[in-house]
Each structure stands twice: as structure tokens, then as C-alpha cells.
């Protein structure tokens, strides 16, 4: 499946899960900041991606979870170097450059999950 085909299917998934128009679903659009996704929507998106692409997604595989439970990863509301390194290692589909270079406010980490990162994720999963 080509990257363009994956993108088109993800547009449909986000249209169904978030009620957004397909033209709002651009590669750089953030799921939370631009498309209005809330935490429960992430579970909806995971289920719909599994159905659409016929693979299983483990909890925490697509979106970062449970970070604040670990002081090694988050301190004073900021992602630590160890936390950033762990995420970069586990989530190759996400571009962490914005966090690497600047503010690491953990409450903004959802903003890093863009439509493009979903396409990356599906591409990696399908490649297997």
C-alpha cells in the first residue's frame, strides 16, 4: 500500500472518529491541537486503525501513555532527557524535534501526534 493510499484511509478514519472534514486532515495537522482529539478519541482511533489496516496495536504503541507515572521520564511537568530518549526509541513514527529543541511541557506532548505520524506508524506496521 502506498503512502498516499495510507493517508487517504487515515483521512477516513479521522473523519469517522473526530467528525472533521477531510480537507482539515493535512499531514502536519496535530490530532489534539488542530483536530480537537481528546484522550478517549485516541482509543477510538486505535480501534479504527486496527479495523482499517487489519493489524493489532498494543496499548501505548501508537500514543505515549503512563509517562507521568515515572519520575525518570517526567520531572516538574517536563519530559526529561531519559524520557525523550525512551520515546524516540519506542515511537519511531513521531517527530520529537520540537521537544528536543525547545519546551518539553508534558501537557503538550499530544500535539506531536500529527496525521503524518499516523501515516508513518501504519507504514512501519505494514512493513512489518
Amino acid at each position: 500500500m502506498s503512502r498516499d493510499e495510507i493517508f487517504e484511509k487515515i483521512q477516513e478514519v479521522l473523519d469517522d472518529a473526530l467528525g472533521v472534514d477531510e480537507d482539515e486532515v493535512t499531514p502536519e495537522a496535530s490530532l489534539t491541537a488542530d483536530l480537537g482529539a481528546e484522550s478517549i478519541d485516541f482509543l477510538d482511533i486505535v480501534f479504527r486503525l486496527e479495523k482499517t489496516f487489519d493489524f493489532k496495536i498494543s496499548q501505548g504503541e501508537l500514543f505515549p501513555e503512563g509517562l507521568t507515572d515515572n519520575e525518570e521520564w517526567v520531572a516538574d511537568g517536563k519530559l526529561t532527557d531519559a524520557g525523550l530518549s525512551m520515546l524516540q526509541d519506542r515511537m519511531a513514527h513521531v517527530d520529537f524535534d520540537a521537544f528536543s529543541a525547545g519546551n518539553r511541557d508534558i501537557s503538550k506532548i499530544g500535539d506531536l501526534i500529527t496525521v503524518d505520524s499516523l501515516v508513518n506508524f501504519v507504514e512501519i506496521k505494514l512493513a512489518g
Binding site: 469517522d16 484522550s39 478517549i40 478519541d41 485516541f42 482509543l43 477510538d44 480501534f47 501513555e65 507515572d69
Partner: protein, 167 residues
Amino acid sequence: MRWMWIDCIIEHEPEARLVAIKNVSFSEEHLHDYIIDGKPIMPFSLIIEGVAQTGGILVGSIGRFKEKVILAKISKATLDCDVTVGDTIRYDATIERIDDAGASTVGVIDRRVAGGDAWERIGRVELLFSHIDNNMAGINFPKHNFVFSDNFKMILDTAGLGELACD
């Protein structure tokens, strides 16, 4: 005490499907306040709650009601016609996907009009349930299971499904 919007369970396929019915009666006071064109109408919001209770019991039964299963999202909901007093509603819920974080279900809504024999399909509701102790937002909730109350257990017992509930 939780307000129940199903009367009884009529079918159960473990971990897959649950069917419940609701008889709509004029003795229900809320119908007195929801009159359209002179006819009392069952509000769609309460029909959705009936679908949610059906789906919620199905999802909860998979974990023997140890998990706190709450309705987290109404993904899609359609209803093609009104339901009024004397009608019976049938909620037929199936599991689409379930994991530690939650479950998605599809519930179809059928209606049998007063005095009729045939069921007609009148709606469909897609729901997302959260197992809230595993919620993605990391919020903590009380330990006791406040979701599946005695009313739920009574409905299970009435349907002969009491053994589904944990002690």
C-alpha cells in the same frame, strides 16, 4: 440507585452479543413531558442510554463485572422514526473490539409497534466504552465498582445470567 433503561435481557452470546428489550409505557413520567404532535415520544437520548446499558453489560460481562465500564463516546447514532407508548424496543449489541483500555460496540435498534408482531430496524448506535481504571488520561477513580450496581445484578439474575457476575 441507577435508572435502568432496559427491562430484561433476552439473548446472550458470551463475549460477543447481548440483546435486551424495553417496553415503553405511559406510566413513565418522563414521557408526559416529551410530547410531539400530541404523541408521547421516547427521547432518543434515553434510547441511546438503553443501547449503552445493553452494550455496557456485554462489555462488563467479559471481565465478570470486575472492570468499571463507562460510556465514553457516542461515535455515531441514527434513529429513523419515533418510538411511542405501547411500543417495544429491542437493543442488539455486539462487540467490535475490546482490550485493556476499553471496547467498541455496535447496537442496532428494532421496534415492534403496539399490537404488532413484526420487528423493524429503526436505528444504529456505535459506542466506545472505557475501562476507566486503565484510562489513557491516567486519572484515578474509586476502587469500588460504582458502575454495576444492584439493579444490574437484578437484571442479570432475572435473565438467569447471575453467574456472570463475580462475587
